[in-house]
Symmetry: C2
Subunit: 289 residues, 2 copies
């Protein structure tokens, strides 16, 4: 793999044995070395050197707490729910502009923390019975005080794929994309289908093409809000497109020279490629190489 | 691939364009050819020929309805929520004994229907605000009548993997497994990690081994209740094991002869292999071949 994928490479030990053991979790909370990630809502706040910003863990703070993990020296790293005065806007993309300030490991750690904090904020009530729930398992789940149902953070698998036909690949743009921007087609995996079936279904639904020979390429978490992006390739034998224009505004087959020009940011490239953090860019790099 | 994986191969067109278009959905409900899957709670009821059992769609029935899809002739296939008198026990495995009565396509169709019906049964309330929610999008989501939040069926990605070391692979057994039964190790993917990272984390947490070179093998939906099983292999350089005995009661390295004997059901095999529907069996077959 030529470079780590965006939002991968976090170095903390997630320490499941601490999350699930009340005494060990209490000891982590009481550790004088413990640190807490500074967030503004669910966005990170850049530190002086440009990275993530940490503060000493304050036991007097009564906001709910989640254990992100332990570093190599065993220092517990936590994150807290936002203060009631902080608004969360999970659809905001302002943090995207700040992400290049983070190292690969920091972006991965932040991405996981963001997904977790955002999930708690949107899951305060029990989906089974409607009553309030409380954090448990070191912040990696919620339990209903009324019916005892347990709820765990969502991870939503998404297939994202390049269909290949006659030495060209298919890129498309959604209505909300910036001008000139094209990416790999993608969609959520549904109950009752494999990854390979989801790839074939999405390409047919969105672009009207039938594919075979779906192959896995790579994966990355995508914390907007909690997707697991699963990158694939597939082979189409007929390049004729029928677009679902509610999902895809435009799509086109591009060859390796087109893709290389887009990746290089050439002014004459036929499209603008996805940013380095996105697995779509990795899929294009991998295919062009 | 030597054979289709369990719970894959459903033939119905999921018809997203019908789910999301109110007029098209109303037309499907009014189609005189429409059929409804017969369930007992969330278990299927075998038909006379041994397959799934369908009944004409009854517009007078007021139970909530979900569109499974359209067959090749455009006939809409639905499933309904269970009647209030029917108990749902998502942990029941009685249906496992009946599954061999279904064809591959029927098992896949039933698996998706089971996950969907079970999700609705456990998500009647809004996790954001605690108020009741209603079905929308042809039964493929719920919307809150109070805060308007939209909720979609969960698909929980799980990594399941064979670690390989010195031409042997690692199999383990959970405390609740039948006697002699061993399988591939597995665990839920968490927010903030790739599939490859989840494989490495789970193998270290459960068996104390460090792996590299994680490669994807295959995937299958697993409707107990809504997992997406993602099968992988990984390479370990040191076979020393440290088991997390709350998760894994026993684990052992087995060679190709052991695996072939287990797959063949030999009396002298060192373990009992997973059943044909499980991707764990496919991983063992794939490795032994």
């Amino acid at each position: 793999m030529p470079r780590p994928l965006g939002f991968t490479g976090a170095r903390l030990d997630r320490a499941d044995q601490v999350r699930t053991n009340e005494a060990a979790f209490a000891a982590a909370l009481a550790d004088p070395r413990a640190r807490c990630l500074v967030l503004d809502g669910i966005d990170f706040v850049p530190g002086e050197g440009g990275g993530l910003c940490w503060e000493p863990f304050d036991p007097a703070d009564d906001r709910a707490v989640m254990l992100l993990g332990l570093d190599e020296a065993g220092v517990p790293h936590f994150v807290r729910e936002p203060a009631p005065s902080q608004r969360i806007d999970a659809r905001s993309r302002t943090v995207m502009r700040l992400l290049p300030m983070l190292s690969t490991e920091e972006a991965a750690l932040y991405g996981g923390a963001r997904s977790l904090v955002d999930w708690h904020a949107r899951h305060r009530f029990c989906a089974v019975c409607g009553q309030p729930t409380d954090l448990f398992r070191g912040g990696w789940g919620r339990q209903c005080g009324s019916c005892n149902a347990e709820h765990f953070p969502r991870v939503d698998p998404v297939v994202i794929m390049l269909a290949e036909c006659e030495d060209r690949v298919l890129v498309g743009r959604q209505p909300g994309f910036p001008p000139g921007f094209f990416s790999a087609l993608a969609g959520f995996v549904e109950p009752g289908e494999s990854l390979e079936e989801a790839v074939a279904r999405e390409l047919f639904e969105e672009a009207g093409i039938r594919v075979a020979d779906v192959t896995y390429v790579a994966s990355q978490p995508w914390p907007f809000p909690s997707s697991l992006m699963i990158g694939a390739r597939a082979v189409a034998h007929d390049p004729a497109l029928t677009l679902d224009t509610t999902e895809i505004e435009a799509a086109m087959w591009v060859d390796r020279a087109d893709v290389r020009a887009a990746l290089a940011g050439d002014m004459g490239a036929p499209f603008m490629a996805p940013p380095p953090l996105a697995i779509a860019r990795f899929l294009l790099e991998d295919w062009a190489a």
